[in-house]
Amino acid sequence: MKRRLELTVNDECLDVEIEPHRTLLEVLREELGFTGAKEGCGLGACGACTVLVDGAPVLSCLTLALEVQGKTVTTVEGLVKNGQPDPVQKAFVDHGAIQCGFCTPGSVMSAKALLEKNSNPSGQEIREALAGNLCRCTGYQKIIEAVGSLAKPR
C-alpha cells in the first residue's frame, strides 16, 4: 500500500505517494525527476548515488525514501542557485575533475558536504571524504585538486 512522503528537495516542499520499499534514489530519479544522482552499483559500494540529507552525505540507494520523512534533501541539481553553479561544481569543471561524469554528481555532493563541515581540509582529509566515491576515469588526482582549490586557510 502506498504511503505519503513529505520532504524538501532542493528548497522545494514536496509530497509524494510511494510504495514503502522504494529507495530514496528511486523516488528522486523516477518520481521526482532528479536524475542527477546515479545508480552505479545499488549496494552502497560506489557512491554515485550520494545526496545530502540535512546536510550530511548519504547513499540514497541504501536509504529507504520513508526514512527521510520531513527531512531536507539536496541533490546535485540543487546546488545550482539562480542559474549559477556551486563553486564545487565549477571547480570540478575547471580542474578537469570530470571525465565521463557518471560518478561526478556523487563526488560533488561528498565534496560539498566535506567543505561545509571543514572549510580548510588537508589533502588527506579530502581523500578520506571521497574514499567512498569510486571513479574509474580520473585517478582522483584532479578531483582532489578541485576540492583542494576551495580550501580556505583559517
Binding site: 545499488g42 565521463c100 585517478g139
Partner: protein, 763 residues
C-alpha cells in the same frame, strides 16, 4: 608554428559539457524516459553449457503488466560479431555457453514486474559438458563450445620475423620465463543500458551506452534481419567504456526486438552484477624467451601466449594480433617470433580493454628485461635505452615510426626521479622500477576505419561540429572543438558538437584502438579548413586582400600585415551566406592515414598505424614486509604523445591510466566458481582503487609534433596503462627482492615470496 603561438591548441580546456555533467543535467541512457516506456530484463542461463530444449513463458505472460517475452527462437539466428570471420553471437541464444548467457528477455510495465516475470519463465535445458580452462579446452576431445572451431581455438596468430633461432645463437645470455596476467573488469561507473523505440512506420531508434554506435547498428540489423535504414543508433552520454562497450551486447539486441514486438519504447539497464558479467580483460599465460648480447642488445625474442576468450569471440583476432604487434613497438628487436592462441571456454566473454592485448605481454617482457639486466649486471634503464626504438625505424614486422621520442622519455623520467641515487638506496623497503611501452594510433587490420566530420557555420558565427567520433568521457568532443576553435579563431563557447549518431553524423568505426584524436581530429581539421578557405575567400574580397593573407583569430578575420582591416567572424558568416545567389557555409572532412597497410595475411608484415606513441613509466613503491601490503608512492611518466592538444585531458588520461594500472597490478581479479560462474560481480568484492590508493602522477611531455597526427598529436588513452603494471612489479623487486610473476600482487604472494627468499638465503 609552436604551441606558444596557438590560441587553443596546447592550452588547458575544461570539457565543453563539463558543466552539464557537474550539475546532473547530462543525460545518460539510464536517465532517458519516453511516454509509455516499458522496462526489459534478460534471463541468463544458470548452466555454463546447455542447449535450450524449450522455453515455457505462459506463466510469465499471464502476469499482470507483462507485455512480451522473447527467446533465442525469436531471433533469426544470423550471427554477428566484431569480425566478419568470427561472428558467433545471436543476442539471445538457443545454446547457453556461460552462466548468465541470455536465453530470454521480458518486457513489462516496470522493473519489479519484469523481475517477477523472469522467475516465472520455465526453461528446459539439456545440460552439456563444460570446460573452463583454456589449456583443457584446446585438448582433443574437450567439449566443443562453437561447432565451427576445432579444439575451441578461436584465434591463432603467428609471427616469424628475421631468423629467431639464428638470433638466439648470437646471444650471450638468454632467459625463459613464464608469467600470468589475471582477468579484470572494466568497472565503468555507468552500467550499460539501452532505450529502444519503434515508431508506427517500423523505424527503430536506439539510445545506448556505446563506444561504437555504427558497429551496434551493423550488428543489430544483422541479428534481427532488418534493413540498415530502419535502425538509428544514438550514443547517449556514456559513463566510461575502456573497451567494454566497444562491441554490441545482448541487451541491445533484446531491447530492439522487444520494442518491435510491443510497439512501445523499452529500456534495459544492467544491474552491476549483469554489467560485470558482459565483458572483461582476457587473462593470459605468457611464455617469454629473450636473448641479449653482453652490452644488452636484444638479439631475439619469442613469446607464446595462451588467452582465455570466454564463451564468445568478441575482439579475439585483433587482441591476439595486438599482443604480438605491440611487442615490436618500444625496442629494436631484429628477430621476433610469436605464437598467440585464444581459446573458447564456458565462462563470460573477454574482449577489448584499454591497451587491448598489449598490457599482458608488456607486463611479461618488461619484468623479464629487469631480470636480464640483473643477470648481466646492467642498469635496467640503460638496458632499455640501449634498445629503444628511434624515429625513422621500420621494425622487422613492418611498423614504421614517423616520430619517436622514447630515448628522451627514458632520459627525462630517470633524471626527474633521481633514478641512479634511488636505485642504490639499500636497507629500506622502498624501491623504484621502470617500464617502457608504445601503442598504436588506431590499428587497422581489416575493413574501413576512416573518420568523418561535417561543420556548419551559422549566420551569427556560431559553429556546429557534426562528427562520427564517440565521446565516451575522455573528452573527444572538447578536443574536436579545440581544433575548430584554432582554425576559425573562435572560442569554444561558440562551438557545439553533435556526435556519434548513425542517422545524422558521418560514419565512424568507434572509439577504440586509441584512434579518435588521430583519425577524428584529422577529419575535423579538414572540415574546418574547408570552411576557412571559403570564408577567407569572401574576406579577401571584402577586405581587398588575398585569401592566403587572411587570419582568423579572437573572433576576428583580418589581413595579416594590417590587422586594422578586419571583419568580425559573425559578420563574415552573415556576409558569406548572402554572397551571389546565397551560399551555405559547410565543410566536410574525412580522413584515414595513407602510410598504412593491412598486415599480410600470411606473414602479418605491415604498418598498421599511421603513427605510434611511446612512454616510459617509473614507479616508486614501499612494501610493508610484515603485512605484504604494497603502497605506490609516486608514478613518473615520460610521455611522447606528440603535440599535446589539451593538457587537462592528457593529464587526466595519465592519472586514470595509473589508477587502473594500480588496480591491475595489486588489487583486481575476477574469480570463477567450479561451474564457471563469476563469483565476485560487485564493486564490494571486485575492488578498484579509491582516492586512498592513487598517488600523484608526474607527467613529463617529451614528444615533438608528429608529422601525421592533427597538429602533431598522437594517442595517450591506452598506451600509458600498459607500462604501469610492470613498473610497479619492477619497483617491488627493487624494494624487497621478490619477483612476482602472477598478477595481482596480493599481500599473500608478497609474504610467501619473502618467506621463500629468506629460506633460500639462509639454508
Amino acid at each position: 608554428m609552436n604551441s606558444e603561438s596557438y590560441a587553443y591548441i596546447g592550452r588547458k580546456q575544461p570539457q565543453i559539457d563539463g558543466l552539464a555533467k557537474a550539475t546532473g543535467e547530462a543525460k545518460f541512457t539510464t536517465d532517458l524516459v519516453l511516454p509509455r516506456m516499458l522496462i526489459g530484463k534478460l534471463l541468463g542461463s544458470p548452466y555454463p553449457h546447455a542447449r535450450v530444449r524449450n522455453v515455457d513463458a505462459s506463466r510469465a505472460l499471464a502476469l499482470k503488466g507483462v507485455k512480451a517475452v522473447v527467446t533465442g527462437k525469436d531471433v533469426p539466428g544470423k550471427k554477428y560479431g566484431v569480425f566478419v570471420s568470427r561472428m558467433d553471437e545471436t543476442g539471445l541464444t538457443v545454446k547457453a555457453r556461460f552462466v548468465g548467457d541470455p536465453v530470454a528477455a521480458v518486457a513489462a510495465v516496470d522493473e519489479e514486474t519484469a523481475m517477477e516475470a523472469l522467475g516465472l519463465i520455465s526453461v528446459d535445458y539439456e545440460i552439456l559438458p563444460a570446460v573452463f580452462d583454456p589449456e583443457e579446452a584446446m585438448k582433443e576431445g574437450a567439449p566443443v563450445i562453437h561447432d565451427e572451431y576445432e579444439r575451441n581455438i578461436v584465434a591463432d596468430t603467428h609471427y616469424d620475423f628475421g631468423d629467431v633461432e639464428a638470433g638466439f645463437r648470437e646471444c650471450d645470455h638468454i632467459r625463459e620465463d613464464n608469467f600470468f596476467s589475471q582477468t579484470v573488469s572494466h568497472a565503468t561507473l555507468e552500467p550499460r543500458g539501452v532505450l529502444a523505440d519503434c515508431d508506427v512506420a517500423g523505424k527503430l531508434t536506439l539510445w545506448t551506452s556505446t563506444q561504437a554506435p555504427f558497429q551496434v547498428r551493423r550488428d543489430i540489423i544483422r541479428a534481427l534481419d532488418i534493413p540498415a535504414s530502419k535502425l538509428r543508433v544514438i550514443k547517449a552520454h556514456v559513463g566510461g567504456g575502456f573497451g567494454g562497450k566497444a562491441d554490441t551486447y545482448p541487451m541491445q539486441v533484446a531491447a530492439t526486438l522487444l520494442a518491435m514486438k510491443t510497439g512501445r519504447p523499452l529500456k534495459i539497464i544492467a544491474t552491476r552484477e549483469e554489467e560485470i558479467n558482459v565483458r572483461r580483460r582476457a587473462p593470459m599465460s605468457i611464455f617469454t624467451k629473450t636473448g641479449v648480447k653482453k652490452d644488452g642488445a636484444i638479439m631475439a625474442q619469442y613469446l607464446k601466449i595462451l588467452a582465455d576468450s570466454g564463451a564468445y569471440s568478441s575482439t579475439s583476432i585483433l587482441m591476439m594480433y595486438n599482443s604480438g604487434l605491440t611487442c615490436m613497438i618500444p625496442y629494436r628487436i631484429p628477430n621476433f617470433k610469436y605464437d598467440g592462441y585464444q581459446i573458447y571456454t564456458n565462462k563470460m566473454v573477454t574482449g577489448a580493454m584499454r591497451g587491448h592485448g598489449a598490457n599482458q605481454p608488456r607486463f611479461a617482457v618488461e619484468s623479464q628485461l629487469d631480470m636480464i639486466a640483473e643477470d648481466i649486471g646492467m642498469d635496467p634503464a640503460d638496458l632499455r635505452l640501449r634498445n629503444a626504438s628511434q624515429k625513422g625505424d621500420t621494425t622487422v614486422s613492418g611498423l614504421h615510426f614517423v616520430s619517436c621520442e622514447l630515448s628522451r622519455s627514458i632520459e627525462e623520467s630517470t633524471r626527474n626521479v633521481g633514478w641512479k641515487e634511488k636505485r642504490r638506496q639499500k636497507g629500506t623497503n622502498r624501491g623504484i622500477g621502470i617500464a617502457c611501452g608504445g601503442f598504436v594510433c588506431g590499428a587497422r587490420i581489416s575493413g574501413h576505419t576512416a573518420s568523418g566530420t561535417n561543420i556548419h557555420v551559422h549566420e551569427d558565427g556560431g559553429v556546429t561540429v557534426i562528427t562520427g567520433s564517440a565521446d565516451i568521457g575522455q573528452g573527444s568532443n572538447s578536443v574536436m572543438a579545440q581544433f575548430v576553435a584554432e582554425e576559425l579563431g573562435i572560442p569554444l563557447s561558440d562551438i557545439s558538437v553533435i556526435a556519434a549518431d548513425t542517422e545524422t553524423t558521418p560514419i565512424d568505426n568507434g572509439t577504440f584502438s586509441s584512434r579518435v584524436t588521430f583519425y577524428g581530429g584529422n577529419a575535423t581539421l579538414l572540415a574546418a579548413r574547408e570552411v576557412k578557405q571559403m570564408m577567407a575567400g569572401i574576406a579577401a574580397t571584402l577586405l581587398k586582400s588575398n585569401a592566403e593573407d587572411i587570419v582568423f583569430r579572437d573572433k576576428l578575420v583580418f589581413v595579416r600585415d594590417d590587422p586594422s582591416r578586419s571583419i568580425p567572424f559573425g559578420k563574415l558568416a552573415k556576409a558569406t551566406e548572402g554572397m551571389g545567389h546565397g551560399r551555405l557555409i559547410i565543410g566536410q572532412g574525412q580522413w584515414a592515414p595513407t602510410n598504412t597497410q593491412f598486415p599480410d595475411k600470411k606473414t602479418k608484415w605491415g604498418n598498421v598505424s599511421g603513427s605510434y606513441s611511446f612512454a616510459t613509466q617509473i614507479a616508486e613503491v614501499e612494501v610493508d614486509t610484515e603485512t605484504g601490503q604494497v603502497k605506490v608512492i609516486s608514478i613518473t611518466i615520460g610521455d611522447d604523445c606528440g603535440q599535446v592538444i589539451n593538457p587537462l585531458s592528457v593529464q587526466g588520461q595519465a592519472d586514470g591510466s595509473v589508477a587502473m594500472g594500480i588496480g591491475h597490478a595489486l588489487l583486481e581479479q575476477l574469480l570463477f566458481g567450479s561451474n564457471g560462474q563469476l563469483m565476485n560481480p560487485s564493486l564490494l568484492d571486485f575492488k578498484i582503487p579509491t582516492a586512498m590508493e592513487c598517488p600523484p602522477t608526474t607527467l613529463l611531455e617529451v614528444g615533438t609534433p608528429d608529422p601525421i597526427g592533427p597538429y602533431g598529436a598522437k594517442e595517450i588513452g591506452e598506451g600509458l596503462l600498459i607500462t604501469t603494471v610492470p613498473a610497479i612489479c619492477n619497483a617491488i623487486y627493487n624494494a624487497v627482492g621478490v619477483r612476482i610473476t602472477e598478477l595481482p600482487i596480493t599481500p599473500e604472494k608478497i609474504l610467501k615470496a619473502l618467506d621463500e627468499k629468506k629460506r633460500r638465503e639462509k639454508p
